[in-house]
């Protein structure tokens, strides 16, 4: 395995390593549920998106949704993983208020997707390969509301039966930073693929975090599973909190028990989960209501052919074709919409200049205005027009910044702003000659110094000339004319 972040925790008795594996539940983007025809939209009124199948009424039977299967296969392909042409559904049996059938239909022994990998990027330009153990399809449970009544829980089954992909990583992660990078990268891939919206606030992506600690060089010790952590930040916090708890247990001479825990966001600690007493006896067995899921290679191939370019490939292409740095390319591909914006902007233009503008002024403007890449204050076409005006010397770079700010403010096209404000670059050598002559005349002492060898003063003269020309002088011409005058040319 690659180096990674080299993260360790110093305990009272020495150094500890942290070992992390993530099980991510990603809600599949589909119109209808995995085994029923009820809708999946977020935020509907309680129990309005529930079929009798989802509510496990007597005699109701599951029928699988082809699109959910396709989404799992696309995701598997996107993770460079093995697609299993024959997989099977099993029942995971346990009682819970929001699990209507008393079992969850999942894939235990024979998942639809096998081993794959995700490349994560860490600070300092390090990349690390994280193994994917498997991806399987399963049903989501309903939602219990515990805060509506002092002694009752209320059950909403809208989410019951929605398709989830459970994506299980190998225990390859070694620090909170790596865990965070993994989650962000996974989310990026899922969004590129259009198989999960990655919206952790709405619960469409949740992570179960498996944490253990060990002395450097040791084998694995007992792990605990911190369930249902719902943001990247909380995952990173939960890893650290749980690792520190386990270190304390070991260092006090105790033994960490394998168990399911919850991360208490308010207190920043993990605690044991009462409702999971039977967690180790789920009595998995093949669901007799369903038959083996058999996929045709041709169907899988067609899905593969329809996949979009994924972030890693896009990044490599941007670096190779446009000469961007790994860092810049990484930022540009992190979101599909950002990458699309960039590619529209860079098409037929100076790609590096385009990247600098996007990563600099454009991102700053997004931040400042609170807008997003899908709802930007300046469109790719408008920003492109601005770059074109720089390229054809209508304006210079400095004026361009001023024009850009005006574009952000007004939403107007750059040409209109330039015309209205008279910002067109001066390329008339007569005007430049006059400005240079005036500046040199007013600074005769500095001219003498320059000619005496203080060549650094050249920048000062450029600044003065530009200032005199209200910034509109063509920089190349200004330089030429200045050199000529300073050399005594007149």
């Amino acid at each position: 395995m690659d180096a990674g972040t080299g993260y360790t925790i110093e305990g009272a008795s020495g150094t500890w390593e942290v070992v992390i594996g993530l099980e991510v539940h990603a809600q599949v983007i589909s119109n209808a549920k995995l085994f029923s025809g009820a809708a999946t939209a977020f935020g509907a009124a309680p129990n309005t998106q529930v079929s009798f199948i989802d509510a496990a009424f007597p005699g109701m039977l599951p029928v699988i949704n082809r699109e959910c299967v396709a989404q799992a296969v696309r995701t598997g392909l996107g993770l460079a993983a093995q697609i299993n042409l024959v997989s099977r559904f099993d029942r995971k049996n346990y009682f819970y208020a929001d699990l209507p059938a008393g079992y969850q239909i999942s894939q235990y022994e024979h998942p639809i997707v096998g081993q794959g990998t995700i490349e994560i990027e860490l600070d300092g330009g390090i990349t690390k390969s994280i193994g994917i153990t498997r991806l399987h399809l399963e049903q989501d449970a309903g939602k219990s509301l515990h805060d509506q009544h002092p002694s009752k829980s209320y059950i909403d089954l809208n989410r019951a039966g929605v398709a989830l992909m459970e994506i299980v990583s190998e225990p390859d992660l070694r620090s909170p930073e790596e865990a965070g990078a993994y989650l962000r990268k996974l989310r990026t891939i899922l969004r590129y693929l259009g198989t999960c919206d990655g919206n952790m606030e709405e619960g469409s992506m949740r992570a179960d975090v498996n944490v253990s600690v060990r002395r450097p060089g040791e084998g694995f010790r007992t792990r605990c599973e911190v369930k249902n952590v719902n943001s990247v930040r909380f995952v990173m916090q939960a890893v650290e909190a749980e690792a520190r708890r386990q270190i304390a247990v070991w260092e006090e001479g105790g033994t960490v028990e394998q168990e399911t825990r919850l991360y208490d966001v308010a207190r920043g600690v993990t605690r044991s989960m009462r409702s999971k007493e039977d967690a180790h006896d789920y009595r998995y067995f093949p669901d007799p209501d369903l038959l083996p899921l058999v996929l045709e290679q041709g169907w899988v191939d067609a899905l593969a052919a329809g996949l979009p370019e994924l972030p890693d490939a896009k990044k490599r292409r941007l670096m190779a074709r446009h000469g961007l740095s790994a860092y810049d390319a990484g930022v540009l591909v992190a979101e599909q919409a950002t990458a699309d914006f960039y590619e529209r902007l860079a098409a037929g233009r100076d790609a590096k200049l385009a990247a600098n503008w996007m990563l600099g002024d454009f991102f700053a403007a997004l931040n400042r205005t609170g807008r997003t890449i899908s709802d930007p204050p300046v469109s790719a076409a408008q920003l492109g027009a601005l770059l074109d005006l720089i390229a054809d010397a209508t304006i210079n770079g400095r004026i361009a910044k001023e024009v850009f700010e005006a574009m952000v403010e007004t939403g107007d096209d750059p040409a209109a702003i330039i015309d209205a404000r008279g910002l067109r670059q001066v390329t008339d050598t007569g005007a430049i000659d006059a400005a240079v002559a005036a500046v040199l005349a007013a600074n005769a002492d500095k001219v003498a110094d320059y000619r005496g060898g203080k060549e650094k003063l050249f920048g000062f003269f450029v600044g003065q000339v530009m200032k005199a020309m209200a910034g509109k002088g063509n920089p190349a011409l200004v330089n030429d004319v200045l050199r000529r005058h300073l050399a005594g040319g007149g």
Binding site: A55, G59, L61, F95, I155, R283, P288, L290, L291
Partner: protein, 496 residues
Amino acid sequence: MLTDLTLAVARAGLARRDFSATELTQAHVDAVEALNPTLNALITVTADQALAQARAADAALASGDDRPLLGLPLAIKDLFCTKGVRTTAGSRILGPFVPPYESTVTANLLRDGAVFLGKANLDEFAMGSSNMTSAYGAVVNPWKRRQDADAVLVPGGSSGGSAAAVAGRIALGATGTDTGGSIRQPASFCGIAGIKPTYGRCSRWGIVAFASSLDQAGPFARTVEDCAILLRSMAGHDPKDSTSADRPVPDFAAACARGVRGLRIGVPREYRADGMPGEIEALWQQGLAWLRAEGAEIVDVSLPHTKYGLATYYIVAPAEASSNLARYDGVRFGLRADGGDLRELYEHTRAEGFGEEVRRRVLIGTYVLSAGYYDAYYLRAQKVRALILRDFTDAFAQVDALLTPTAPSAAFAQGENMDDPVAMYLNDVFTVPASMAGVPAMSVPAGLDGNGLPLGLQIIGRPFDEETVFAVAAAIERAAGFDALPAIRPGAVAAE
């Protein structure tokens, strides 16, 4: 009497307007009223609905409608969900459950014009072979022992109410379900015909599940042809059931007239069970002789894993049931017994709601799936199940159908066989193997034992070859000329 007609004859009579659908249904409603208090065959009687359906059928008949079941009154096993009509599965735990949907099989029957008299009693969740486990009381077999007329006999199970209703002539036909013999064994005990079609032939959608990989719906009637007519309506591909077979439904009734000339009929030697009554062995030989006389060739075959069928069944079925019945938890429908917390609510509801046999099977099923025991029990049972299927596949390479006794005994009395669950399970020893293999199997009444009680023979066919099963069953029916009548039936009960 209108209640003595076969379904086919009643259909012809309606078509000729010899009588109206309303008269036919009224005769059965009267019979229900007179006999159901004795038989307890129906849990819920829907007389008003039946008469309304009959009036609608008369109007349709008048306009030339000739749907295959138009105006024919049936009983529906109370395991089929019926829209707007309470469905109990024979259990307290479903309590007042009223399904907002109609099972596919009953919807098919309604589509074809059938009239529903009510919901037939059954062993709780179809678990039993005597109908003694119903929360709604035992069903009484309309037949009586000649020597011991006071003994109350069981109708068999689990579809005992359906079988008793048809035998007692309070319905022309009935639906049943068969998981390990629940159509064939009660048909044999009640002197009527009943078929479990190939797994996947009838949709399971809307039928309260017992063991999903085994459950299969099928009809009861007093003749083989009537079963064929009913099955044609019940069967068919259903996209709502992933295990439903996408195959055309043949004209089963036409197959009844085919005869058996040239067919090879297998006699599985392993069905000669120890201690099987001589009368049953004799009837079996008689059945083979009838078929030989009709031109069939009789061939000895071996199904070597037959003796393991029951034990395999008692792992697979309880395992699936333990999971299928987890939904009865007092939260969304049915009975709720309160508790201090959710766990107590579950435990109280399920302790109060489930009867003894269901509890026993759920516990067995939970055990055989639990950590550390899965491989030893469940996985092993699935492998033996594969061997049982292989037995049938091998046998059907040599023969077109198999003939066996349906059950190892005639109907027994309430209270007999009740102490030891395993002794009760042995009732299904001849029916379970076909269930494990998913192949079609039918019981046809073939004679009486020394006590005047009916005995059935079982015909087992290749997957999706119900037509041969009907052909063989009809040949036996013709040869047997079974015309004995049960003691309890319309018009006869007064003479008791």
